[in-house]
């Protein structure tokens, strides 16, 4: 049985993990490479690196740490942040990324999804969408949630999947950072609309929030979170043990088999 994936997300700026990460036992707490190794050894099913750098120098540093990570971490690695051209795809794939996520770049130019899927295959192209309720309607926001595009979210996601997006990360701006649980209503609507893997993002505050997500929406594929993992509020090993107790299909490492 295919398992539900647990995905830590690392925000990287100028080659360093941002948001004060608190880790014991790591030599360098803001080294993306060290953190990635830690997560990979502690049960993460996949990792997302999000490049929030704006400068060319920051980009270069990001490429360096991405390469170093991909050389030492052997689980799938998705890269997002500032992807707006095929050259951007090429740059991160050459550094060892397995999948590339597009957000604002696809809103500016939806054909980017089509061209990238054609060149690298759909399995490589992840649509990331930041969504917020505006007058009761799910609406797509761009530029890290700053700009209201006015685009209706569900039809946008369907359109991007038709263009070739092989996976969708749904980030609810309404629940993000609130730690009161994932946006079940939104995620359920997306899962009903598309037949590709859907990754839930935004709102996880505790283990039970993941249990609720996977129980209420059996078709969701993965749960993504950042700070609750970075701050040890949720240990992936504990989370997975709890999922197994609830009979949610989950990848346990071999010592548990």
């Amino acid at each position: 049985m295919i398992t539900k994936r647990i995905i830590p997300c690392l925000d990287v700026k100028d080659g360093r993990v941002v948001k004060g990460v608190n880790f014991e036992g790591l030599h360098d707490v803001s080294s993306p490479v060290e953190l990635a190794k830690y997560y990979s050894q502690n049960g993460a099913d996949e990792l997302v690196f999000y490049d929030i750098t704006a400068s060319a120098e920051g980009r270069r540093l990001f490429s360096e740490i991405l390469t170093e990570t991909a050389e030492s971490v052997f689980i799938p690695l998705t890269v997002g942040g500032g992807i707006s051209s095929l050259e951007d795809f090429d740059r991160v794939l050459k550094c060892g990324a397995d999948k590339v996520s597009v957000n604002s770049g696809a809103i500016r130019n939806p054909s980017l999804i089509e061209e990238a899927a054609e060149r690298y295959g759909s399995q490589c192209v992840v649509l990331s969408a930041d969504i917020k309720r505006v007058d009761g309607k799910f609406t797509v926001f761009s530029r890290g949630g700053r700009d209201n595009t006015g685009i209706e979210a569900i039809s946008w996601i369907k359109h991007c999947v038709d263009l070739g997006a092989g996976e969708v990360v749904v980030n609810s701006i309404d629940t993000d950072g609130v730690k009161q649980g994932f946006d079940i209503e939104l995620l359920d609507a997306v899962c009903k609309a598309v037949h590709v893997p859907v990754i839930a993002s935004g709102g996880a505050g505790c283990i039970e929030d993941f249990i609720t997500l996977f129980t209420r929406i059996p078709t969701i594929d993965a749960g993504l979170a950042a700070s609750i993992f970075h701050f040890h509020e949720v240990e992936i090993a504990d989370l997975k043990k709890r999922m197994a107790e609830e009979k949610i299909p989950v990848r346990l490492t071999e010592e548990y088999l």
Partner: protein
Amino acid sequence: MLAIVDYGVGNLFSLKSSLRAVHADAVVTGDAESIEKADRIILPGVGAFGDAAEKLRATGLSKVVTDEALNGKPLLGICLGMQLLFEKSLEFGEHEGLGLLKGCVKPLAGYIPPEYKIPQIGWNALSFKNGGEKSPIFSTIRNGTYVYFVHSFYAADCEDSVLATTDYGAEVTAAAGRENVFGCQFHPEKSGEAGLRILKAFSETERAP
């Protein structure tokens, strides 16, 4: 020396890195002589079967890889590289493979229940068949170990050579092989510690007599 066959499809970064991590001496090459000189061969691949088979033939590497495998040199096909080991594929038309293993590559669509998403993307468990657990590449791997899959097609009609299956609403070929020829539908280079052990084991397999 292990040769990773470079015939212009797919990203070989992870495969190269993971072999380095298990201290296997590997080279990425599209050169027939290097492949002939190598002790073992890995045939990678992502994308469409037809394109890949055509590229392998056009570069002449299809014959080199087949001849070496028939002479007993260990060969490991990964993902599309595994599918290419079979006789043919029905992916967008009918295409001929290397024919080292008996069987035909078919779409998951129509085989698995409709509620299952295609491609299968994610971690799924290995269930050994035909004594697959005794295969040299799986000797350290427990039944039920999770490995990472990304695929829309699967190897069918290969009962004789299947070494492991995975449950995706139906029994799907996860690994196949006979004698010195091995194939993994999953990506060992993306399957964490277990995947590394599989690659390590392959890098130590001996020639068939």
